[in-house]
């Protein structure tokens, strides 16, 4: 997955969050977006993910030379972030089945169990995920982002709320994704930054 962005800027209430951001990412890269709190890392990640439209500039996406439009980006992209909320009235397995169904994927109970196992979550819990701890919820979000094996993975502060073992899961996913696809991480954490091949510092408004 190739991404190239030119002249990206974003305004809220006419106030500029950041402006003139240029970068490009190639397949097989782990790209880090770093910067202070409030510098607009998450905003930039949302723009890259097509969840927000930029106030200025443009981004183009391509898979092996074929263009991908923003409308269809959600099919080839996975996204996990602290501000993402899952459907808490359903159980973990129900949530995964639901996402698979909306995405039009066939996921049997063994596939679901394998996914839960991969991120270190219990496979036999039937209660709603409302009762899950924040670390467990973060692991659920990881499943949400990799369920459809997307060529592009966007992670916003991926190790927040996670213990040592959880961090290992994240870095394992990142390493796996790197083989065939692209990862973009928005973070401030030194260990995350160590995973990145290249980083971009977002300055934000002073």
């Amino acid at each position: 997955m190739q991404i190239s962005a030119t002249g990206i800027g974003k305004k809220f209430n006419r106030r500029s969050i950041f402006r003139e951001v240029d970068f490009s990412v190639e397949t097989g890269e782990v790209f880090g977006i770093i910067g202070r709190n409030g510098s607009g890392k998450s905003t930039l990640l949302r723009i890259i993910g097509g969840l927000l439209s930029p106030s200025a500039g443009s981004i183009s996406y391509g898979i092996n030379g074929t263009d991908v439009s923003v409308e269809h980006l959600h099919r080839v992209m996975g996204y996990a972030a602290p501000y993402l909320t899952l459907y808490e009235e359903f159980s973990a397995a129900e949530n995964i089945a639901l996402y698979a169904k909306i995405r039009g994927l066939q996921k049997g109970s063994s596939d679901i169990a394998a996914l839960l196992d991969r991120v270190g979550l219990p496979t036999d819990r039937k209660d709603p995920i409302r009762a899950y701890s924040s670390g467990m919820m973060q692991r659920m979000k990881l499943i949400f982002s990799i369920l459809h094996e997307p060529p592009l993975l966007l992670l916003d502060e991926p190790i927040s709320n996670l213990d040592r073992e959880g961090m290992a899961v994240v870095y394992d996913i990142v390493a796996e994704q790197k083989k065939t696809g692209t990862v973009i991480i928005a973070t401030n954490d030194d260990e995350d930054i160590a995973q990145c091949d290249r980083t971009l510092r977002v300055e934000g408004r002073a």
């Binding site: 305004k11 809220f12 209430n13 006419r14 439209s53 106030s55």
Partner: protein, 316 residues
């Protein structure tokens, strides 16, 4: 600067012309009124076609012709001032159906160079048309402009377009309130009640609701970009459902307002054939004046907007 003065002068002048121009009928209207009411006197203008002659009952008679060339004897109870030298008269008169003669009740002035026709039932009240109709038209124009800039915002995401859309919606609401007020006053004195849910009244009421809702929505969203998008979308949805009320329903349903289905004259606004040439000229001049006034108000709003932006920029 010069055009603002000109606009001010233009609207003031045509308002004055519209309000001051006398209403004057002819022998035709006099005869119509006489069939309905023997007592009612109406303003009539006529040229003198002869010397005053004293009548048997002590009054005076002057031969006169009206604007259509019909002539009749006009009976005065006393000899009018400058009777021999006056070219013509504007006077209130009635037709006495028992004595079969035109009786002048009161002399109002000289024969006026131009006048509005006497419309039975409307009389002086007809003059509100110069304000009511332009206001109603400006309402529609302003709302169409507002929707247009709403669409432009959705296409280009330029907050300036959103600002123009709001500014125009605000002016539209103002004109809408004015048109409703003048219309309701007119309805009171012509139809007999301020408000009776005539199709036209229903439609303007819905329009008021729509733009009330539009501004309520705007005040409930904080992020300006979101506010702009949501209000533009609502603007378009409303514009797609409201035409049922504004343009179609009043025209094809029977009602009291000119232009409704059972009105074969089609109303003064729809077809120009139904209106006296001078009145039409004044009405269209007022329409033009109001259109420029709308443009001017838009410009003022634009300036205010830029000043506000500048202040927000300079604020610490």
């Amino acid at each position: 600067m010069w055009w603002k003065l000109l606009l001010f002068f233009w609207i003031a002048a045509f308002s004055a012309v519209g309000l001051v121009t006398p209403i004057a009928g002819s022998l035709t209207e006099l005869s119509m009124i006489a069939q309905w009411s023997a007592e009612k006197a109406i303003p009539v203008k006529f040229r003198t076609a002869g010397e005053p002659v004293s009548a048997e009952d002590g009054g005076w008679v002057i031969r006169g012709t009206d604007k259509h060339g019909h002539d009749a004897d006009f009976h005065f109870s006393a000899i009018p001032e400058n009777a021999g030298t006056r070219d013509g008269y504007l006077a209130t008169a009635r037709y006495d159906t028992t004595a079969h003669r035109v009786e002048v009740v009161e002399v109002l002035g000289e024969y006026p160079g131009f006048s509005f026709p006497f419309i039975p039932g409307l009389e002086e009240r007809a003059k509100i048309i110069f304000f009511h109709v332009p206001m109603a038209w400006m309402t529609v124009v302003a709302f169409l402009v507002s929707m247009w800039f709403g669409i432009q915002y959705l296409r280009k995401k330029d907050l300036e377009d959103d600002f123009r859309s709001v500014a125009s919606a605000g002016l539209g609401l103002l004109f809408c309130v004015l048109a409703t007020t003048t219309g309701s006053l007119w309805a009171k004195f012509n139809w007999g009640s301020f408000w009776n849910w005539d199709p036209r009244q229903t439609s303007i009421f819905v329009l008021l609701l729509v733009y009330g809702a539009y501004f309520a929505l705007r005040s409930a969203v904080e992020i300006e970009e979101k506010k702009a998008t949501l209000s533009a979308v609502y603007n378009i949805i409303a514009a797609a459902t409201v035409p049922f009320f504004i343009f179609i329903m009043p025209r094809i349903m029977p009602g009291l307002h000119p232009g409704s289905a059972d009105d074969n004259s089609a109303g003064p606004v729809v077809s120009s054939g139904g209106m006296d040439a001078i009145m039409r000229f004044v009405l269209y001049s007022m329409l033009g004046g109001f259109l420029v006034l709308y443009g001017w108000l838009m410009r003022i709003q634009g300036r205010l907007h830029r000043i506000k932006l500048k202040r927000a920029e300079l604020a610490p």
